[in-house]
């Protein structure tokens, strides 16, 4: 299959955060299978860890040496750097040469949703997700179960022999692997005992042997002295896990509406491959059905997808490093701060009257530097002064118009419009052809070009990919 421009862009929107103009010019010469393979291979290489803050979380003994004031200052420092790590990852998404890795790492962040208050923990978990983004799901699951951020977030730190805490065991099955209906409350109780004593110690995992319940447990109808690792293996042995992950990935990469015939087959292969993520992703991205019209331009962009995609398409850099954070907050998706353990709902839930108006006016704020006049909700947590309604006035950004503008010097405004529409929109608006020209009135080429771009970015269709 020789992809059309829209189909190439489709691949890049779903397997990344959109194609830049430069990407697109290169892609037109390439072969689809080869390109997908390249994206997958690049994504499998171990990435450079994103490190915002050097150092490590003090272990208990070290923490005890600190005064109350020092502890408080440390906690604050660790917390205040989380939004900066967010900004750094957004940068990576926009500029990475392995967009598929970042996209898949983002998928795993939405899957293993975790709120972060400690930048060291966040750095460790982010690296885990990026390193395993196209690796093996079995290995990633074992690793995430021992990840200090996850252990803390899901209260496994408090899961002890005498007083088990079921939070991790429940989410492990309900949200990370099997989905509701594939286990019993008894399975949760018993498996929680198998994870007793799994703790975070500084930045490391520690098996607290004295807190572990070594008695026999009955899980999925089998009885034995199971450890946490055994429980994970028994969950992975169930085909339902492969189907659950495949369905979720299909929704993320392909379409909100699951085609059960397709995902059933893909899940079988995923299970047979011993949970090889790269294989599953590649299978999706080279399939003819992936490029079918019903899958193109039918996904409502998540706030992160919208933000990074716009940055990529316009070669954009914000004047204020926290602008991306502000946009994430207003639109309801802050990286490292999911609403709850279930992550973000996505799809139509991104859109209400307020978020839609903000989305449609974003180009006005960015390109025309219009004043925003919108505030974040006040944060209700006295501990969170970092995210207090930062008095944003402007979202102005530097845009590298010259890159694209040059190419259009000798074209008529209609040609420019058509080419820009093909570049920016994955689905065409049903408009009267003359309509835009009532609104785009500048006569000078450069101004006209900017007006065309601003008009297209403010189309509801730009919210789709």
């Amino acid at each position: 299959m020789k992809p059309t421009q829209t189909q190439w862009q489709h691949l890049y929107w779903r397997a990344g955060f959109g194609a830049s103009w430069a990407d697109l010019q290169k892609l037109k010469q390439r072969n689809l299978q080869v390109e997908v393979r390249r994206l997958v291979n690049d994504g499998q290489k171990e990435p450079k860890k994103i490190v915002l803050l050097q150092g490590q979380t003090p272990k208990l003994a070290e923490a005890k040496q600190l005064s109350t004031a020092e502890k408080k200052a440390l906690r604050k420092k660790l917390r205040l750097n989380v939004p900066k790590l967010n900004a750094a990852w957004i940068q990576e998404m926009q500029h990475s040469s392995s967009p598929l890795r970042e996209k898949m790492a983002f998928f795993w962040h939405t899957h293993f949703a975790c709120k972060h208050k400690n930048v060291y923990y966040a750095q460790i978990q982010l690296h885990l997700l990026r390193k395993n983004a196209l690796g093996n799901f079995r290995e990633m699951l074992h690793a995430i179960a021992k990840d200090p951020a996850m252990i803390t977030f899901l209260n496994n730190q408090q899961n002890k022999k005498d007083q088990p805490n079921e939070n991790f065991a429940r989410e492990l099955m309900e949200l990370f692997t099997l989905g509701r209906g594939n286990y019993t409350e008894q399975d949760i109780k018993e498996s929680a005992r198998a994870f007793t004593g799994w703790a975070a110690h500084g930045d490391d995992f520690l098996f607290r042997i004295k807190q572990h319940d070594f008695d026999s447990k009955t899980f999925f109808g089998k009885t034995g002295n199971f450890h946490g690792e055994d429980i994970i293996e028994m969950i992975l042995a169930k085909k339902e896990t492969a189907l659950f992950i495949t369905n979720k990935l299909y929704k993320f990469l392909v379409n909100e509406n699951i085609n059960q015939q397709l995902t059933g087959r893909l899940a079988d292969d995923f299970y047979q491959s011993n949970y090889d993520i790269a294989k599953l992703v590649e299978q999706m991205l080279v399939a003819d059905w992936f490029y079918a019209p019903e899958n193109i331009g039918t996904q409502i962009k998540s706030p992160v997808q919208l933000l990074v995609g716009m940055g990529k398409q316009l070669g954009m850099r914000f004047g204020n490093e926290f602008s991306p954070l502000f946009i994430q907050k207003i639109l309801g998706q802050v990286i490292f701060d999911p609403p709850n353990v279930a992550g973000w709902k996505g799809g139509k839930s991104w859109i209400d009257s307020a978020t839609l108006m903000f989305r449609l006016r974003l180009p006005e704020f960015i390109i025309k530097a219009a004043e925003i006049g919108i505030q974040n909700k006040e944060e209700d947590d006295a501990q969170k002064e970092d995210l207090k309604g930062n008095g944003f006035r402007s979202l102005s950004a530097e845009i590298h118009w010259e890159v694209i503008l040059d190419l259009f010097k000798n074209n008529s405004k209609k040609q420019i419009y058509e080419q820009m529409q093909a570049y920016l929109l994955q689905t065409n608006p049903q408009l009267n052809q003359q309509a835009p020209w009532t609104f785009i009135q500048a006569s000078q080429t450069e101004e006209q070009f900017k007006e065309i771009v601003a008009w297209l970015l403010a189309m509801p269709e730009y919210q789709l990919c």
């Binding site: 709850n340 449609l360 909700k377 209700d380 008009w455 403010a458 269709e461």
Partner: protein, 402 residues
Amino acid sequence: MKRREFIKTSALTTVGTLWVPAFVKTLENNTLPKTVGGNKSLIIIQLGGGNDGLNTFVPFQNDIYYRERPQIAIGTSEVIKLNDELGLNPALESLRSIYEDGNMLLINNVGYPEPDRSHFRSMDIWQSASDASQYLDTGWVGRYLDATCGGTCDMTHQAIEIDDTLSLAMKGENIKGMAMQSAQKLYRTTQSNQMKYLAKQAHHHEHAHSPAAYLYKTLAQTVSSAAYIQEKTKNINTKADFPQNEFGKRLKTISELLQADLQTRVYYASLSGFDTHVNQKNTQERLLKIYADAVQALVADLKKNGKLADVLILTFSEFGRRVKQNGSAGTDHGTANNVWLIGGGLKKAGVFNEAPNLSNLQEGDLKHSVDFRSIYATILSKHFGVDDKIILGKNFEKLTFI
């Protein structure tokens, strides 16, 4: 008429009569379809951060209260006594007359089983009306819209939050409320030529369930609701004396919207900053005064306009605070708390139930005796006359206050 002509002749100036979705037509004609709930409306006021209920309605006869809070307790002589056990924090002086007029009801010990002490989680539980172990991504007001509209009414302004972003409480599965700071501001944001033009393109998608259709529909609803609200409110400018602060302005906006008879069922406004871990007294009392002064102005204005009988004001916070003060003259996150209702149609006024029991605590926190969803259920069934069970997912005991 051909489409091109249509656009030429009407799109940029007024809405034509062809191809216009039903709800846009209705709005333009200023005749709204009848909505469920009669003339009743609900104003929800959220005190964000976890308001300390014990220092709001003070158990001024309780020795434990004074023993556990040596630095921050409100003295017996300072409180405004409501009965022989409980009294108002003096910062709530403005509520006194409302209480004395029989327009206020205090419900003590409100909460839910297995309370969560995280602001965000507990707020989600209150807003979504879920169990502590359940994650819902719709809110109780949103589900009320879903249930009553049944896909036939298209007005997002059935529920309005006075804010720039929309809270979970206001989001239904199919219908969401709308967020706005003021009618003028919302109207201005919808007035770009492109926005107005696009809103009229929704008809191309009227019958489709595609994401694009959903976007155009939401856009059209927002633009027409904004125009409708602007039209209905432009001549209303209440003379009532609202405090000149942010919260005062929000309640003033609500009062004006109510006078405009928009058929809005639910209004939502927040006042934040109640997370008083340090030097609680100053912070809390400053906020309580802001709250009470604005509410007093609102109630007076509603009364003057003959609206108070149909309005219910519900004030809540995501949790109360620990009985024992902490080392910094503040309090830490707690659990059960008080909720109070203000309105002209209360069947029962005063204090609804027993005062908090400070000698029977769980991990230092008050135990709840009223599930907050019982209050929601009562409002839904008795104030709005709808089936609360559909909206809340299960049956909760109805209380007898309305």
